[in-house]
Symmetry: C2
Subunit: 325 residues, 2 copies
C-alpha cells in the first residue's frame, strides 16, 4: 500500500498531466483554468486510497476514473458559481466573472461530458456498475444544490433537512469516490458498500467543519475571508442550530443580527460569532463533527477490513475532519 502522501503526489501529477487544450479555445480554456486553480483533490485521492486498499497496480484504469471525479466536482463548482453569483473561487476570479455566464454554462457542460469520458477508462467489465454509481451521484449533487438554493429563502430549515441537503450536495460525491475505487479494485461487495457509508458520514462531518471554519477558522490558514456564510445568511449547521435554539431575548438578538446591513460586516460577524458561543452552537458543532466521524468509523467495523486497511482509512478521514483549511 502507498502512503497517503505518495497517493496525493500520484494524483497531483496525474492532474498536472491532464491536457484539455483543444479548439475552440473559447470553450476549453475556462476548463483548463478551473482545473488549474487547485483545491485539495480530495475526491480522486479518496478513490485512489480505497482502490489502493486492494491493489498496488496503479494505472490509467484507476487514475482516469479518479480524475473523472475531480472533473465532475469542478463542473458543479463552475455552475454553482453562476447560480451563487460568486466572484472568486480559491482566491481566483470565477469563470463567470473572468469570462461570462454563457462561457461558464457551456464550459461546465463540456466538463460534465468529459467526466464521463474519463470515467469510461475503467475496466470494461466494471463500467456498468461504475457508471450507475456515478450517475446516481450526479443526480444527487444536483438535488442537493437545488435544496441549498431553496433553503436561502426558507425561514425555517430543520436539522434533518440540513443533513439531507449536505448529504446530497457534499457526502454523495465522497461516498461515490470511495466506493468507486473499491469496485474498480474488485473489492468484496460488502466492503465496497461499507466504504460508501463510511465516506458518506465523513462527508457530513467534512461539510459541518466547512461551515465551522467559515465562521471560526483562522483566516490565514482557511484561505478565504471569515464570515462569508454569515454575510450571505447561508443556512449553515451553525445558523440552523441557532435558529432552533434561540428563544425570547436571544431570538430577538438573532433577528437583529441577521437584519444588520452589509456595511456593518465586521460588527455583524462578531455579533453572530458571540451568539453562536452563547447558544453553545460553536462547541456543539465540534461535537457533531466528532459524532459523524465516529459514525463513519463504525461503518467499517465487522466488515473484515485488515488493521492496515483501517489504519489508512482512519488517517484519511482524520485529515478531512481535523482540518484547518
Amino acid at each position: 500500500m502507498y502512503s497517503l502522501k505518495e497517493q496525493e503526489a500520484i494524483i497531483e501529477s496525474a492532474i498536472c498531466s491532464l491536457r484539455f487544450v483543444k479548439e475552440p479555445a473559447g470553450l476549453y480554456e475556462p476548463l483548463e483554468y478551473m482545473m488549474s486553480i487547485g483545491g485539495k483533490r480530495l475526491r480522486p485521492r479518496l478513490c485512489l486510497a480505497t482502490y489502493n486498499l486492494y491493489s498496488d497496480e496503479i494505472g490509467d484504469n484507476i487514475l482516469s476514473p479518479a480524475l473523472a471525479l475531480e472533473i465532475f466536482h469542478n463542473f458543479t463548482l463552475l455552475h454553482d458559481d453562476i447560480m451563487d453569483r460568486a466572484d472568486t473561487r480559491r482566491g481566483q476570479p470565477t469563470v463567470c466573472k473572468k469570462w461570462n455566464d454563457n462561457v461558464a454554462i457551456l464550459s461546465g457542460d463540456v466538463m460534465c461530458i468529459l467526466a464521463y469520458k474519463y470515467l469510461a477508462a475503467c475496466p470494461a467489465d466494471k463500467l456498468p456498475q461504475v457508471q450507475a454509481l456515478f450517475t446516481r451521484m450526479g443526480a444527487e449533487v444536483c438535488e442537493g444544490q437545488q435544496y441549498d438554493m431553496e433553503f436561502e429563502t426558507q425561514p425555517i430549515v430543520t436539522g434533518e433537512e440540513y443533513i439531507n441537503m449536505i448529504g446530497l450536495k457534499t457526502a454523495a460525491l465522497l461516498a461515490c469516490s470511495a466506493k468507486m475505487g473499491a469496485i474498480i479494485a474488485g473489492a468484496p461487495e460488502e466492503q465496497a458498500a461499507a466504504l460508501y457509508d463510511f465516506a458518506w458520514q465523513i462527508g457530513l462531518a467534512f461539510q459541518i467543519s466547512d461551515d465551522y471554519l467559515d465562521t471560526f477558522g483562522d483566516p490565514h490558514v482557511f484561505g478565504k475571508k471569515i464570515g462569508g456564510d454569515i454575510m450571505a445568511g447561508k443556512k449553515t449547521w451553525l445558523l440552523v442550530e441557532a435558529i432552533r435554539r434561540a428563544a425570547g431575548e436571544e431570538r430577538k438578538r438573532l433577528n437583529a443580527i441577521m437584519a444588520m446591513p452589509d456595511n456593518q460586516a465586521e460588527q455583524k460577524i462578531a455579533a453572530m460569532q458571540q451568539l453562536y458561543i452563547d447558544l453553545g452552537v460553536k462547541q456543539d458543532a465540534v461535537k457533531a463533527i466528532e459524532e459523524y466521524h465516529e459514525k463513519a468509523m463504525e461503518c467499517l467495523s465487522g466488515k473484515g477490513f485488515t488493521a492496515e486497511q483501517l489504519e489508512l482509512l482512519k488517517e484519511f478521514s482524520a485529515s478531512l475532519v481535523h482540518r484547518e483549511d
Copy 2:
C-alpha cells in the same frame, strides 16, 4: 421491419411513459415540462430505425438509449435558450423564462446526467463503445454551440466554417443516433460507420433546410415566426452565402438591411428575403440541401445494405430533408 410510422408510435409511447417526477420538484418539474412540449423526436426515431434494420426485438435495451438521445438533445436546448436569451421554444415559454436562469442551468445539468442513466440500459457488452460514441458527440455539440456563439460577433464566416459548425452542433447528434442503433443491434462495423456518415450528411441538409424554412417557410406549417434568424442577424447558410456573394451595390444593400432597426421587422425581413432571391441564394439553398441529401445516400452505397434496408433509410432521410416544419 417496422414501418417508420410504427417506429414513431413506439418512440412516442416510450417518451410518454417517461416519468421523472421526483423530489425536489423545483429541479425535476422543468425537465418534465421540457420533455413534454414535444418536438419531432428525430434522434430516438433515427436510432430505432437503424436498430430495426437488423433486429425486430424492440425492448428497453434499445428504447432507453434512444430516449437518452432525446433527453440529451433537450438538455442542450434548455441551456442554449439561456445563452440565446430565448423566450419561447416550440410555441411555449422556455424554462429560463417560465422559471429562471438558475433553474434552467441546474435542471439542464441533471438532464445531461439522466441521459447517461438511460444510455446505460444498453447491452453491457456494448456500453463501452456506445458511451465513447455518445461522449464524443456530447463534446462536439458543445463545440458547435461555442462556434455558433462566436460567429454572432464575427463579421465574416466562410462556408467551410459554417458547415463545420452545423456539423458539430446538429449533424453529430444525428450521426451518433444512427450509429448507436446499429451498434446496439450488432450491425457489421462497416455498416455502422456508413450509417454514421450518412446521418452526418443528412444532418447538414437538415440544418440548411432549417435555415431555409426560418426565412422562406410557411408560417402556418413551420410553427414559428418567419424571419427570426434575420432579425437576430444569425449567420445562417443564407446569410453566409449572401455575404460571400454581395458586391458593390448589393453589398451596400445588404449592409443597409442588416442595419435596419428591430421596429421595422416586417420591412427588414421582406427586404432580406428579396435580396436572397436576387442573389440566387434562395434557390441555391434548395440545391445545397439536395446535394447533401445525395451525398448522404452515396455513403450507403457499396456497403452491402439490402434493398429493403436502403428503402427505409431513403424514406427516413427524405422525411427529414423534404420537410415543411
